[in-house]
Symmetry: C2
Subunit: 189 residues, 2 copies
């Protein structure tokens, strides 16, 4: 029996990331989980217009997406609790720069993506920043033969419904593969 919950967004979990931008000449980071992929090479970040980081993204046309492991849970949550207007959050991390020069990256995050802003969609209370990934950095320890192993990344997943941070489980199967059995049968069960 189905229960109606009203208009409740349940598109979770989503990956919790630290979005980086250069704001007033200094690196700043903010926690985001209302993110997505809008085409295979581009990501979207839905950021409340009240955030300090937004102006840096607009000014530079660049931002970074840093994927923290679960061991950075406290620092990641902290970056969502305080504004860069008041605190220098970047001093918690070793910051480095790559090809884009204005997208600060976090050494302690196992995966970092530099993004070039391609679209800004003006929603009522949020700026939707779409960025094309131009370069990706990874800790060697999370790679298996050059491919990112997300069990090793150990990403911090977010669920709004319980306001929880969750871990990733285990790999269950391969896409475009496990369903072949049903395709071969032609008549699905």
């Amino acid at each position: 029996m189905k229960k109606q919950l009203g208009a409740k967004n349940c598109l979770y979990p989503l990956p919790t990331v630290l979005v980086g931008a250069q704001v007033n000449g200094k690196p700043n980071f903010i926690t985001m989980a209302h993110v997505g992929i809008v085409d295979p090479g581009s990501v979207s970040m839905s950021m409340s217009k009240s955030h300090y980081t937004n102006q840096g993204i607009k000014e530079n046309g660049t931002f970074s997406v840093n994927i923290p492991g679960t061991k950075l849970m406290k620092e990641t949550d902290y970056c969502g609790l305080v504004s860069g207007k008041k605190e220098d959050k970047a001093k918690m991390f070793k910051v480095f720069y790559g090809a884009l020069k204005t997208a600060p990256l976090i050494e302690e995050c196992p995966i970092n993506m530099e993004c070039e802003l391609t679209h800004t969609f003006d929603f009522e209370s949020h700026d939707i920043f779409v960025g094309k990934v131009v370069e990706t950095y990874s800790d060697e320890e999370v790679l298996d033969s050059g491919v990112v192993n997300f069990a090793k990344v150990d990403p911090l997943l977010f669920v709004m419904n319980d306001r929880g941070y969750w871990s990733l489980g285990r790999k269950l199967g391969s896409a475009w593969s496990v369903g072949m059995e049903l395709k071969r049968k032609k008549v699905p069960p």
Copy 2:
């Protein structure tokens, strides 16, 4: 030491969903994982223009987002392997309709959202459909005091890097809470 991977999208895992639409008068479902949240009440689905389902979304201005549990992994993968042009994928499921009348929902998925199309962004090879969630349906068994427990939903997460389906792990902490300790210290470590 960081390794450069080139322009590699690593914004994973993302939830694997079955997007439903009424196409030529019949329900159809397609597997999607390039999804996101664009504002708290809206979701985005990045769908290759070649897909059969896109025309139904455009015609009706509605779509559904059905969240399968891991036990539907084969059926979910199958819906990404075959086109609704050739196969009636809906016959695998018990289909029901809600408030919008034209957004088919899958009984076997523990969570279903009906969405009203609010924006279509025309990307090079993809339509980005943005929908406002207007009603959500849930199996009673996945609710704890009316709140969705994602451990019970047991969602199927997708990672493009290894083309893998993954499970969700466990809840580690609460957002806007676990970082308070660092905020109280004022000077972060």
